[in-house]
């Protein structure tokens, strides 16, 4: 049920973003509905965190941080996958609209990855006694963040250049290879990791699982709205830089 809700949200937001990216100026008003959905989902998720999810026996209230830390991974992976998809389509079609989608996916993915990396240590300090440990899961997640921050630097230093767009598309696709290392880091570490394993595999109590799922659904819709806003910005920036009629090379 929870996994289905998350999957349906991801697919719905993906389909909408692909549709929106084809004609941003005409279709941008549809982002209001997505923003409204996110505004409804966030208080529902917070109400579940506060009133519905039970206190965990050993960690107590501290475990409530998981309801924001775990859901942030879905939009992170979603953003980087969207970036690779946009990059692949750009290489195939040379259509700037795909390039805008690749850039928007990577940027919003980095925002959620940063959120995960900021919130994790706030839990780790009181739980482990350290803000950060060079554990395999934490290190691979940090590497993933660096890969896409480098992508954004590349884009900002070579704005509008066709060579930069091509290189960024290839880089964005290659960067996706880091995701399996992050996802399977706990398994790869073979018990020598401090990071808790994937909660869905451990079997969370139903109330906790539903609360994590509600967070994932809310974050996916927030992600969709932010990507739409970033697409609008990319379109305006490209329009501002486009040569005017009679201004050709």
């Amino acid at each position: 049920m929870v996994a289905t809700a998350v999957m349906v949200s991801v697919l719905a937001v993906l389909a909408w973003l692909l549709w929106l990216s084809r004609d941003v100026p005409a279709r941008a008003p549809s982002s209001r509905s997505v923003g409204a959905a996110a505004l409804v989902l966030v208080p529902l998720w917070l109400a579940l965190v506060v009133f519905y999810a039970p206190l965990e026996v050993t960690q107590g209230v501290l475990q409530k941080i998981f309801y924001v830390h775990i859901p942030a991974i879905i939009p992170t992976y979603f953003g980087f996958t969207l970036s690779a998809l946009g990059g692949a389509m750009f290489l195939r079609t040379r259509d700037d609209r795909w390039d805008h989608l690749a850039l928007a996916g990577a940027e919003v993915g980095v925002v959620f990855c940063s959120l995960m990396l900021l919130v994790g240590p706030i839990w780790a300090k009181p739980a482990w006694g350290h803000w950060w440990v060079w554990d395999l899961r934490l290190t691979t997640t940090l590497m993933l963040w660096f890969i896409y921050v480098a992508y954004l630097f590349l884009r900002s230093f070579a704005f509008g250049s066709d060579t930069a767009k091509t290189f960024a598309a290839v880089y964005g696709i290659a960067g996706l290879a880091a995701i399996p290392f992050v996802y399977f880091a706990v398994d790869l570490a073979q018990g020598s990791t401090m990071h808790p394993s994937d909660p869905s595999r451990e079997g969370l109590p139903a109330e906790m699982g539903r609360t994590v799922g509600a967070g994932m659904v809310a974050f996916v819709w927030i992600f969709g709205w932010l990507v739409a806003k970033r697409l609008e910005l990319a379109f305006l920036q490209a329009r501002a830089l486009a040569p005017r009629a009679g201004e050709g090379v």
Binding site: G60, L62, V119, P126
Partner: protein
């Protein structure tokens, strides 16, 4: 009350700050880009 509630509040405050901050930054950048487009037209 659990004295670690402050950590939990800090985590949710950081979340709000990151997401709202990014949305505001997009809004400011959009206004600047709109001005550029209008100046050119």
């Amino acid at each position: 009350m659990d004295d670690r509630i402050g950590w939990v509040l800090a985590a949710y405050a950081v979340t709000a700050l990151v997401l709202v901050g990014y949305a505001l930054q997009l809004r400011l950048a959009r206004s600047a880009a709109l001005r550029d487009v209008q100046r050119r037209s």
